[in-house]
Symmetry: C2
Subunit: 229 residues, 2 copies
């Protein structure tokens, strides 16, 4: 009855490693299927799917981090979101992916075969509500992002970004960034230099401590909160 099938991504060069854990759909409901799914591995910066490619599958992150982004003709890039463990990405309203997806770090994802007019099934009312909730959460996320891009200054954007990731960290103060400065810049609508300068500025103000480019500690979280808008 279900036509969901796990499948290999054509661009994958890695493979064969078994995941040690099963996904638990923390980012939303498991869209569908009780069929076996095949884990896929992607090396850093590998493309999982291209913008404009057929949206035959959608994915769930098992380990590592994935970014979904769009590149304009002029070369400017906007990162829509970073996806971590348990989050689903690649669900589309139409038959083509409107963004590309790439591995920020080495990562493992599971692909699910899309089916139905909207690419998911609606077997029962509860599932339907879950799918709707999943979509609405994505709306809220995109709207928050638009607010950040439209209203905040560079320092406010960076403060927001740090606070957001601190919440994802155990303890809430020590952040290990999976992404490079360029990714942060393209997520926040800034340049690499501005991101770097802003981080240096926050460190000089003793609001954060940067032990290495990817290791940041919030030494004064309150001061960051003040910058939240």
């Amino acid at each position: 009855m279900s036509n969901l099938q796990a499948r290999s991504a054509t661009r994958s060069r890695a493979g064969g490693h078994s995941p040690t854990t099963r996904p638990h759909w923390s980012g939303g409901p498991k869209p569908d299927s009780d069929l076996p799914e095949k884990p896929l591995h992607f090396g850093q910066d590998m493309e999982i799917y291209a913008q404009g490619s057929a949206a035959e599958d959608f994915f769930e992150v098992v380990t590592g981090m994935v970014r979904t982004c769009k590149v304009l003709r002029n070369g400017r890039r906007q990162i829509d979101a970073f996806h971590t463990q348990g989050e689903v990405f690649g669900v589309e309203a139409i038959s083509e992916h409107s963004f590309s997806a790439e591995a920020v770090s080495d990562c493992t994802v599971i692909s699910y075969r899309r089916h139905g007019r909207n690419g998911v099934s609606f077997g029962d009312a509860q599932m339907s509500e879950q799918m709707f909730g999943f979509a609405m959460r994505r709306v809220a996320r995109a709207q928050d992002h638009a607010l950040l891009l439209g209203c905040l200054s560079a320092i406010e954007k960076v403060a927001n970004f740090l606070t957001e990731w601190a919440e994802h960290s155990p303890g809430g103060t020590d952040i290990t960034l999976a992404m490079a400065r360029g990714d942060i810049a393209d997520y926040l609508g800034l340049t690499i230099e501005t991101v770097s300068r802003t981080l240096s500025h926050l460190e000089r103000e003793s609001i954060i401590a940067i032990s290495s480019p990817r290791q940041i500690r919030l030494t004064n979280p309150k001061a960051l909160q003040v910058l939240h808008s």
Copy 2:
């Protein structure tokens, strides 16, 4: 079986006028209900619901235009979207409205009683797919908006804005703007002055003609398309 009920908005001061047409849900599927709905009238700049207020209802535009927006502590405002005839707004993932809604022009809306955990019903699979499609279209809209805010220059933003509204106009070249410069500015993440200057610039370049502040004709649509990214 349906528990959807039309009701008066507490903030409405106008009322009693009968709408001349029935909504046709061009912006998405009709979420639910075959019950009678009561049309509500709002004068220009009136608040339909406040940010943070209980999301007991959602709405559909019958005539006029509605904006959904958020105001930050520092006074900066971000307009999320402008809603026109047939579009639904105020559907939320949570129990509170994350944006406020205001009448851009005098307008008529219909309110629907929210119900169910996600505020809508999922009576059958077809309805569920429609609701999901509705939500996914909102995702795409918010993502496009984020792209505009994050990647485009002032002139590109304005060009995008004009092109978008030209598509909503019969003929596709003569635009009657329902919103003021301040609304455009807050939608595009610019200031009033920059919007005004950019429009003047486009007029000097003979790309548009401004017969009055609200009446704009695209005299060279191709030139606008070039600016699209």
